[in-house]
């Protein structure tokens, strides 16, 4: 019966799965991450310690997790979609109650010895839950507004909690990532038009409720030169780093803006400025190309998948990945306000590295189980 439908066998052996993994995608991930290690090596003025080494260890650990996730049957992930979402939501609630305050915002909870950032987990969990939800709808149901209310609630709950932390950047990422799943699921375009049409006036309204530092960021984004020593300093110094890099850059470990500490947060949010200062436009475009290939790879996997859950999961995770990349680069170039979004796979940081590798693990799992047929109603 399954063969008649053109699907491959659903019970794959482990060896087969391993052979079927997207080794090209793995290679791309390794290359992009290695660029990150290089920049962290440069940030330490040519020393593998303390950042590059720690990042490499996290990457290694993350890779193991990624393979485990990739080899796990897609149907298990489907089953886990709602529970994962529920746990993530509970953890976000826990942040609200007993979170650790850092940098003026509550973002972490402590579970035993480790600190966890539930908003990072929610980025994946929300995509999984939405993919699961739309997987169970048929075309006609997607067209009906009543069927869109549950997923909107799924978005609204974590978004509200994250916004209260307050973390505007992550909130926007959650909403935008969810929007991509909605779009890919086939929600009609005019509905997006209505939402966007309603969002613009309410954004003005919401502006009034933003924290002062968030309002300031937006204002300074509009005119960074107005406050060169204050909050506009970050954007200004970042643009100087980029601009002075020129076409070929100043050379590895030769960036003056970064090594003389003019560039802020050069290991995390502003790591691209450092890369473009040292390797110039050529280096920047090479990195863009690698990201483009990663995204294209992810989309191709989504299109190739035969189950709606896999398709939506893959396209949603790739979408979030793209948003990370786009917002970070646009921010360091002074195109969008400073929102504190790391450059995926390159910026220094354990949680974001792990989250991204889990995402890629899920995308690979979609590929490995691309021909598995999952009935919309079965689960």
């Amino acid at each position: 019966m399954l063969r008649e439908l053109g699907a491959r066998e659903t019970n794959l052996t482990l060896t087969k799965k391993i052979l079927d993994l997207n080794w090209g995608l793995v290679l791309l991930i390794c290359i992009v991450s290695s660029i990150g290690f290089m920049m962290l090596y440069s940030a330490a003025s040519g020393d593998i310690n303390p950042w590059a080494s720690r990042q490499m260890m996290r990457f290694a650990a993350g890779m193991v997790v990624m393979f485990v996730v990739a080899l796990t049957d897609i149907r298990i992930w489907l089953k886990l979609a709602y529970p994962a979402y529920a746990i993530a939501l509970l953890m976000l609630g826990a942040v609200e109650v007993m979170g650790v305050i850092g940098m003026g915002a509550r973002r972490w909870v402590e579970i035993g010895p480790i600190q966890v950032q539930p908003s990072e987990i929610m980025k994946i969990a929300l995509i999984m839950a939405l993919a699961r939800y739309f997987h169970g709808l048929d075309m006609a149901e997607v067209k009906r507004i009543t069927y869109l209310i549950p997923p909107l609630v799924l978005i609204a709950m974590p978004a509200a909690l994250v916004l209260r932390q307050p973390d505007l950047g992550t909130t926007l990422l959650l909403v935008a990532g969810a929007g991509i799943v909605f779009f890919a699921a086939g929600v009609s375009l005019w509905k997006f038009g209505v939402v966007i049409g309603a969002a613009v006036p309410s954004a003005f309204f919401a502006y009034q409720f933003l924290h002062e530092y968030q309002q300031k960021r937006i204002l300074i984004f509009l005119n960074p030169e107005s406050d060169p020593l204050g909050a506009g300093y970050h954007i200004m110094q970042s643009k100087i780093a980029l601009g002075s890099g020129g076409v070929f850059g100043k050379g590895f470990v030769q960036g003056t803006q970064s090594h003389l500490n003019y560039l802020p947060e050069m290991r995390t949010d502003f790591i691209f400025s450092m890369l473009a200062e040292e390797f110039g436009m050529v280096g920047g475009l090479v990195l863009f190309t690698l990201y483009f290939l990663l995204i294209a790879y992810g989309l191709a996997i989504a299109i190739r998948a035969r189950n709606q859950f896999g398709r939506l999961l893959s396209v949603g995770l790739v979408g979030v990945f793209f948003l990370y990349f786009f917002i970070n680069i646009a921010m360091v170039m002074g195109l969008v306000p400073v929102v504190g979004v790391p450059l995926p796979l390159v910026s220094y940081g354990g949680t974001s590295m792990l989250t991204l590798l889990v995402s890629f693990g899920l995308i690979m799992s979609v590929y490995v189980h691309r021909d598995v047929y999952i009935s919309p109603r079965k689960y």
Binding site: L242, G246, L312
Partner: protein
């Protein structure tokens, strides 16, 4: 299970996924465009900004020019200033390091608190001064123990030093920190903004500050965002200041200061041919070294409240009635105007009448009948009342001006005073009163409105001694741009006074010292076969009342110091081949002949012994065989 539905779902998904991909690619190309804009189109501008960020220009202070005396001895020099600084980030415990340091050298509680306060205020890598002006012993002791003193560094800077202390406090002056007012008034120079930079605050140091200062060097350094210097990129050394050579002889200066002792006095010794100021003394003085590092409040108050006024340079800022030292000018005015001949005689009865007013001679019984030479020798006041009246105040003033009185002599010092030579017009304009004959009487004996400075009196004497040549005093032998000075070869302007008139006046001065009845016959020069000529003068500080005249004037040492007369003496030597002139004023010194004259004689004797000008002066100088006149 509906395959058709699934296929439709897949097609819709594929379409949407491709749309998403297209959108993402479009956004990526926006980023690439922005990258091109920043890194190619605006690259130059941002490169410049990056350089502005990292490069810093630091000024290098030039070495200040030295000031030398005429023999080449340093009177203002730069001395190494050993100091200790602390760099906080290099020590774990600032208190502990300071404790260890105070075992080696004496760190005062104040210094300690100051350092601790600074360490909290400044960034960790900024050196904080702990102590300055260490001795070599202290310096090397700290050096030996440096391994136990993390964060402690030794630095060697330059500091202005005046090896002769108070000898040159008034002429050379001192340097000090740049004040807000200096910044407003001086020509802009980036050096002035340099922390710890010192500029001339008085005397020669101030007058020639610009050539002494030199020009700044620069060092381009790369600094990080916190201001820490990473490395030096390039360095351009500045030009050190020029050395300045004074006309003063340090040996003579030293002698003069010692000779004048505890008096409140001033003296100027001149080379009568070149105008070189060989010595210029104002005592008491102060130690300029206290000023270079900032003087203490107590020391400053002491200097200010001292009644002998150590801070002012009396030689150029003190204005005194010249008294009888003015009589040569009056005599020359009368002779040159033709109102008297050298043989003109006057009978002195001890006073003369002007209407109902009685004008006294200093000698109660009177001098009897006297001629010009004798009246100078004995300083007869009545004779000079008479001839002053004959020639008139305006002619006297003209002659006084010729001799450099009543106006600035443009010595290279700030604050020089003009003195005052009154005229009829001056009195009318200034006081709104008519000039009276009595005023002329007073002016004739150098009292009344007449005021002179010791420098002016020395110049007057030099111009008498050199045969009426208008020499100008000078303190500095270098020539800088617009600064006047007499070139070695140039000949001073003749004043146009007849030699015979001069001869009679100088003979009178000769007799003051060497004559039988000379007022200063006790101050005869007793050195080789050199003889000196001079004139005493007494400047009344307080009018003598009628009652005092009747009961007998108290002797000088019987009056309180403040009320005693100023004692003046001007002189030159050798008489037959004049070379050096001197003027001395002792404030409240009392007797000119007993106090000022011996001082002037000793100064001249020392000058002749040292002979700082040597044979440099014109050989065929104006000669006068005194005894033949």
């Amino acid at each position: 299970m509906s395959t058709a539905r699934d296929k439709e779902k897949a097609r819709l998904f594929t379409r949407r996924a491709l749309l998403l991909g297209g959108g993402q690619a479009a956004l990526m190309s926006v980023l690439a465009g922005r990258l091109y804009y920043l890194q190619v189109l605006q690259s130059d501008e941002y490169s410049m900004m990056a350089d502005e960020n990292r490069m810093n220009i630091r000024l290098l202070a030039p070495l200040r020019g030295r000031i030398l005396d005429r023999t080449g001895t340093e009177v203002a020099s730069n001395r190494q200033n050993f100091r200790v600084v602390l760099i906080r980030e290099q020590t774990e415990d600032v208190e502990k390091t300071l404790d260890r340091l105070s075992v080696l050298v004496d760190v005062s509680e104040d210094d300690r608190l100051k350092v601790l306060k600074e360490t909290r205020r400044k960034r960790g890598f900024v050196p904080i001064p702990v102590m300055e002006n260490l001795t070599w012993e202290e310096f090397s002791r700290i050096n030996v123990h440096s391994p136990e003193l993390p964060g402690i560094h030794l630095e060697v800077g330059e500091k202005r030093h005046y090896p002769y202390g108070n000898l040159f406090a008034h002429t050379v002056g001192y340097v000090g920190a740049v004040s807000e007012r200096d910044l407003r008034n001086l020509e802009p120079d980036p050096l002035l903004e340099l922390p710890g930079f010192r500029i001339g605050k008085s005397g020669i140091e101030k007058y020639y500050d610009t050539p002494l200062r030199g020009t700044a060097g620069t060092s381009r350094v790369e600094a990080n965002a916190y201001g820490r210097v990473i490395r030096e990129l390039s360095r351009q050394e500045g030009d050190p200041g020029e050395d300045l050579e004074l006309t003063i002889d340090v040996r003579l200066q030293n002698y003069a200061v010692e000779r004048m002792g505890d008096e409140s006095a001033a003296a100027v010794v001149l080379d009568i041919h070149s105008g070189d100021v060989l010595s210029m003394v104002s005592v008491p003085s102060f130690n300029p070294n206290s000023f270079t590092t900032g003087i203490g409040v107590k020391e400053w108050e002491e200097l200010r409240s001292n009644p002998k006024n150590p801070l002012s340079n009396k030689a150029v800022t003190g204005q005194y009635p010249p008294g009888s030292t003015f009589k040569m000018v009056v005599a020359l005015a009368a002779l040159e105007a033709g109102v008297i001949t050298p043989n003109y005689k006057v009978y002195c009865a001890g006073h003369t009448m002007l209407g109902k007013h009685k004008f006294h001679c200093w000698k109660r019984g009177g001098h009897g009948k006297l001629g010009l030479v004798d009246s100078i020798e004995q300083s007869c006041d009545v004779y000079f009342y008479d001839i002053a009246r004959k020639v008139g105040i305006d002619k006297i003033a003209e002659m006084a001006e010729q001799f450099g009185l009543g106006d600035k002599l443009d010595l290279d010092l700030y604050g020089e005073k003009k003195g005052l030579i009154p005229t009829m017009a001056w009195k009318q304009a200034r006081l709104g009163e008519r000039w009276q004959v009595g005023d002329t009487f007073n002016a004739g004996i150098g009292q009344g409105y007449v005021l002179t400075t010791p420098l002016q009196l020395a110049v007057m004497t030099a111009r008498l001694a050199n045969g009426g040549k208008k020499i100008h005093p000078r303190l500095v032998r270098n020539k800088f741009g617009s600064v006047d000075g007499l070139d070695a070869g140039s000949v001073p302007e003749e004043m146009g006074i007849s030699k015979s008139s001069l001869q009679y006046v100088l003979k009178g001065m000769y007799d003051v010292v060497n004559g039988r009845k000379g007022t200063a016959r006790g101050a005869k020069l007793d050195l080789n076969d050199w003889e000196m000529a001079g004139k005493s003068g007494t400047a009344q500080v307080r009018r003598i009342s009628k009652k005092e005249r009747l009961t007998g004037v108290l002797k000088a040492n019987e009056r309180p110091w403040r009320e005693r007369d100023h004692a003046l003496f001007v002189a030159y030597a050798p008489y037959d081949n004049p070379k050096y002139a001197v003027s001395v004023i002792v404030e409240h010194g009392g007797s000119a002949s007993k106090v000022a004259a011996p001082m002037a004689r000793d100064l001249l004797a020392e000058t002749l012994k040292l002979d700082p000008v040597g044979n440099a002066g014109p050989k065929s100088a104006w000669k006068l065989r005194g005894r033949d006149a």
